[in-house]
């Protein structure tokens, strides 16, 4: 018998996990390797605000128990960074110099938090929220009655901001173009939404461009945000929350088309016959909007992974899920977003 096919999945988020589970259901014999930079098995990043409600043990955040992976013979490689994918030889090179051959590759690397280029130099002094570790560092550095400055305020960030508010912390939101990402409210709705946030107790600052983030002189903790107009603001932590950009750097030699994300067909295939993509990493042409959409609704991400897995196994299903993109304020001033409704 020939060697079983080796299906490699880059990324261990919803899409990757969904794909692994589906591949195993469809092929009891194949090899499945899941490569992730994370240290933990799959957990839902959108659950991370729960940490501030006392759920700090990562075991409780896991989507499935660890034994799931061994029972389903899914090789979970954590702490592995893919540095290069060679489409010609169908090989993946990892940062630790291991080379892995794949028969099929599904890229579910997702998105990395976008940081406006003007703030790049300040990145080390800001608190991300993209992983359990980052979230726990934020939890550690933000006291219970502390003050957080959030820059941007995408929908994940606003969820966090409201949680922080509910748990006794003070939040200042410095808006920018990515506020409410991935929604793109018009000016009128945006004003209503900001008003609603202000009513909930978030201090909203508009039309201010942050220039630098520093630590207060002589202090060990805390942050100072300086704006381009020369004003400053102090806080315990500064949280950038400006949406996601796809992680594709390692795909440059793969022989697939990339704009900001990986360009895929509705069947989620790339321009390489053995490479597929699902989730936030891919851009799909939307004929109605005449644009490459690269956010497809996080609830659909797992569906995409499962669909890609079936297509890898020979199906020809089309990803045609409408992204329900709606955000509104109700009579009580509460914000409702399709992004949040699980």
């Amino acid at each position: 018998m020939a060697d079983p096919l080796h299906h490699v999945i880059i990324g261990s988020g919803s899409a990757g996990f969904g794909a692994a589970a589906t591949l195993r259901e469809n092929d009891p014999d194949c090899r499945i390797s899941m490569i992730t930079m994370d240290s933990l098995p799959f957990y839902n990043r959108y659950d991370l605000p729960r940490i501030f409600r006392g759920c700090t043990d990562w075991h409780e955040l896991l989507a499935v128990p660890p034994a799931y992976y061994s029972e389903n013979r899914i090789t979970l490689r954590r702490h592995n960074k893919v540095v290069d994918v060679d489409g010609k030889t169908q090989q993946i090179r990892l940062a630790h110099q291991e080379v892995i051959h794949f028969d099929s590759l599904l890229v579910c690397a997702g998105g990395r938090a976008y940081l406006p280029e003007t703030l790049i130099d300040s990145a080390p002094l800001m608190h991300g929220f993209g992983s359990y570790e980052a979230a726990m560092r934020l939890y550690r550095d933000l006291p219970e009655n502390g003050h957080a400055v959030m820059i941007g305020g995408d929908m994940i960030g606003i969820d966090l901001a409201l949680t922080l508010l509910d748990t006794g912390r003070r939040v200042t939101l410095v808006t920018n173009a990515q506020t409410f990402w991935p929604h793109e409210p018009d000016d009128e709705l945006r004003a209503q939404l900001l008003q609603a946030l202000a009513r909930r107790g978030i201090e909203v600052v508009q039309d201010a461009r942050p220039a630098t983030v520093t630590t207060p002189e002589g202090a060990e903790r805390g942050r100072v945000v300086a704006f381009e107009d020369g004003t400053t603001m102090t806080a315990d932590v500064v949280i950038p929350s400006c949406g996601l950009v796809p992680m594709v750097e390692f795909m440059l030699n793969a022989g697939v088309d990339i704009e900001r994300g990986l360009l895929v067909t509705p069947e989620l295939g790339t321009t390489h016959p053995h490479i597929w993509a699902a989730g936030d990493v891919c851009q799909i042409w939307n004929d109605e909007e005449k644009a490459y959409k690269f956010y497809h609704g996080w609830k659909n991400v797992r569906v995409m992974g499962e669909l890609a897995a079936r297509n890898i196994k020979g199906a020809h299903e089309i990803f045609d899920v409408k992204v329900e993109d709606r955000i509104e304020v109700d009579d009580q001033g509460n914000i409702h977003s399709t992004f949040w409704t699980h």
Binding site: E117, A211, L252, D257, L263
Partner: protein, 603 residues
Amino acid sequence: MAGNDELPPPRLSSTDSDTEDIEYSDDPRDFGWVRENIPCQTACPAGTDIPTYIWEIMRGRHGESYEINREANVLPGVLGRICSRPCEDMCRHGWPGNGDPVSICHLKRAAADLKDVGHRLKESLYAPSGKKVAIIGSGPAGVAAAHDLSLMGHDVTVFEREERPGGMLTYGIPEFRLPRDTLHEEIKNALRLGVELKCGVTIGNGEGEIPLSQLRKDFDAVLLATGCMQAIPLPLRDDPQGSQVDRVENAEYGFDFLLDMHRGKGKTVGRRVAVVGAGFTALDCARVARRLGAEEVTIHLRTTEEYIPVTKDEILEARRESIGIKGLRTPVALKADDQDILTAVEFVQNRLGGWRENGRRKAIAINGSEFDFECDTLLIAIGQRTSHDWLDEKIELDRWNNARTDENGMTSLQGVFAAGDYVKGASTVIEAIGQGREVAEHIDTWLMGRPRRKRVVKIERVTAPLRERAFDFIDRHHVPTEPVTERISAPTSEVELGYDGDLALEEAKRCYLCNLHYKIDVDNCIYCRACIEVAPKNCIKMVEGIQINPDGTYGSLQETREWDHVGAIWIDNTECIRCGACYYVCPTQCISITRNRLVTQEV
């Protein structure tokens, strides 16, 4: 486990006596070694001897370093600022697992900036030949050729249409990237060996202009180096020649925009500026627009960021200046109000198509995906082309409408040579300089009836490794830049501030000095693998063979773990990072080091 076999520290202050033994080789395998192993130099169109000039910076000899640069490129201070840096893309330090490339370009600038105030240029002159050469155009190709030809004893006259020499350097590149005093000092030095510079003189058919045929009579040879001084028109839907651009107010070609500005014409832009194009000119236009007060500047690309021919630093600086970059769109129409004032640009969305010959991608429009992008200024920078209507004698053109030249750089007219963008089409400054040098040599050969110089590999003994392993962990030093807020208020002041002496030394230490060749004397090797044990990478191998390329150079090593096949233990110089660890541990002292450089010899 840490042991007690302390090694003597590597000697940094090696002197010239380390090069007492010298050989010269013209074997293709040695040329191949240089090409494979000094990727930065190979990538440089001018063939700059990068490791050697960085080594001189490491030794604190900035003047020497400047001179080595100047052998290949007469404008080191200029290129140290605005070079497209093909070398850094190939730098071994940037290879997977090795970190970031050495800041070769900034080091070049450091050599220029940090050389002694009273530094004397050193050049060996040939005796006067009695031959006269005319050069049309004082851009980088013209200046480089004029310098080399004058050095070789010829009597050179340069004709320049504009008021000042420098071509695109003077009239195309904004001052915040290239200060004019640096530029003009270096041009002056390049032309100081008796070159006659005639500015404000136009070669052409018009009144008061000198026809080419006249030059052919007055000079033994003529070099056309007029570059690409005409913007390529923007093809629009139903308007392939882009006549809308001339008609609509506030839509302009970026090249003309910059040219006018540098000729001293006051330029203004609106609040929302769109730039179309993907090269340095497009980025320069966008950054100038920001400095002229535009609040929202976006660059629109036909393909994607990945495929545009500018440095990553340049893109980052643009983004820091709040310039947006949008991919996969092609302008198809200009929208104007009833007074023909621009209101928007209509774009069509693209998808990526196949590959073009230059390694970039084709963009294919998606039917029906047109949309409007509102803006009040449009700058178009999709390229420049040559023009030939000024010639009174026809020369043959190639299919891109550039001058066709033979392998010696001569056009279809006897004694008329061409170089730079005029031959290649719009390209980079360093390519123009490389071409200027090359054609100067051809002209010299033609004038004198025989080649007077040739390239050989100079192999000189080095008595000890010149580096420390610790140097490999120094991170790339970003060049200090002016804060963004300062840039807008002082639009001509230089953005990049350059390295000081300490930073230059630290950055220079990062260079692997790839021109050092580590080799094992197989006859004395006992195959004990002591060198392999200390190797920092998979750089020393047990080999049974080597691939030989069709051109006689070496390909990759064939490794083996079977003891009876191990013909040699060999240092894979393409993996070697010249750390010197192996040199110190060899029990039979069979590892030696040479410095292999490409040099020019008298024939």
